[in-house]
């Protein structure tokens, strides 16, 4: 069982790294850009024998406790 955890900065939190990337893309002639936000993706592979529902519950717990800091970040879990 594989899970993906997408961690993104909450709305309203300044993302200077995303801004730097945005600026660079703009100088590369991508003027259509409105905004770039940088985040993280974790791919978690779990042992066999775990149900999809259980996997989602466990990975959510991982994200809450370690993978994301919910003071500044949101996360979304996808089970594959």
């Amino acid at each position: 069982m594989k899970a993906k955890v997408y961690v993104t900065l909450k709305n309203g939190i300044l993302d200077p790294q995303g801004k730097a990337v945005q600026h660079s893309l703009e100088t590369m002639e991508f003027p259509e850009i409105l905004d770039v936000r940088q985040g993280k993706v974790f791919e978690v592979t779990m042992k066999d024998g775990i149900s999809k529902a259980e996997a989602e519950k466990r990975v959510t717990s991982m994200a809450e406790q370690l993978l994301a800091n919910t003071v500044m970040e949101n996360f979304r879990v996808e089970i594959e």
């Binding site: 939190i13 300044l14 200077p16 790294q17 730097a20 370690l66 993978l67 800091n69 003071v71």
Partner: protein, 230 residues
């Protein structure tokens, strides 16, 4: 009075803290390895030092939060004895939930290593009693992730409870945008918990607590702690 200095893999200000507590202040001081889950009841003041524990992987301080010693540190902090996190130690304290908020990447994205001026916002704590209120001191910073952030409600509560101990200021004590090196909300450089026994600060008092270092503005923090110890 006995000091403890926690050592994580990647701590690099541990010896500086040890030196000040032990050699300059003359206190009994011990290193505490992060994998120990030993009883910490013999300590009166524990310092989580600066550095790059676990290489700042994931987020600064995040991995250290789950070291065996941190469970003991939480119990220790609940007992009311003193706990200080300096720089990376501050990052560990917010990640561990022992202090509110979070320390994000500096606004400029640059690692900043220089002296800054701090205004002492509250001198009615065991950490700051030897300073005067609104006094301006000079203390070095050296960090990449010192941009303090918390939601408005948390910031209001920090203010209302006088938990902001140090803020970035000009040499005249103005906490202006220009005096803010890293983008911190309310120019916050150091805060304590409501109970006044846990302090977190990005600047390094241990790097300016001895005459030979050319600046002793940080020394009174250690003097305050020792004087208030009963």
């Amino acid at each position: 009075m006995r000091f403890g200095v926690v050592v994580f893999p990647g701590s690099n200000c541990d010896h500086d803290c040890y030196h000040i507590a032990s050699h300059v202040m003359g206190m009994e001081t011990e290193f505490i390895w992060h994998k120990d889950s030993a009883d910490l009841s013999r300590f009166d003041c524990i310092i989580l030092p600066g550095g790059f524990s676990y290489g700042d992987y994931l987020r600064p301080g995040a991995i250290s939060t789950h070291s065996p010693i941190m469970k003991e540190i939480k119990t220790y902090a609940e007992s009311g004895r003193l706990l200080i996190g300096i720089c990376n130690g501050f990052q560990v304290l917010v990640e561990a939930g022992l202090l509110p908020g979070v320390l994000m990447r500096n606004r400029t994205l640059k690692f900043i290593c220089r002296d800054v001026y701090l205004k002492v916002e509250n001198n009615d704590t065991p950490f700051t009693s030897e300073y005067s209120k609104a006094e301006v001191i000079k203390v070095p910073i050296a960090h990449h992730d010192g941009n303090y952030f918390a939601d408005d409600e948390t910031l209001k509560s920090l203010k209302d409870n006088d938990q902001i101990l140090f803020s970035y200021s000009t040499s005249e004590g103005e906490t202006s945008v220009e005096a803010n090196p890293n983008g911190s909300a309310l120019n916050i450089a150091g805060i304590c918990n409501k109970e006044r026994n846990v302090l977190g600060m990005m600047p390094h008092p241990e790097r300016c607590a001895e005459d030979i270092l050319g600046n002793e503005d940080g020394k009174r923090l250690f003097e305050s702690i020792i004087k208030n110890f009963k």
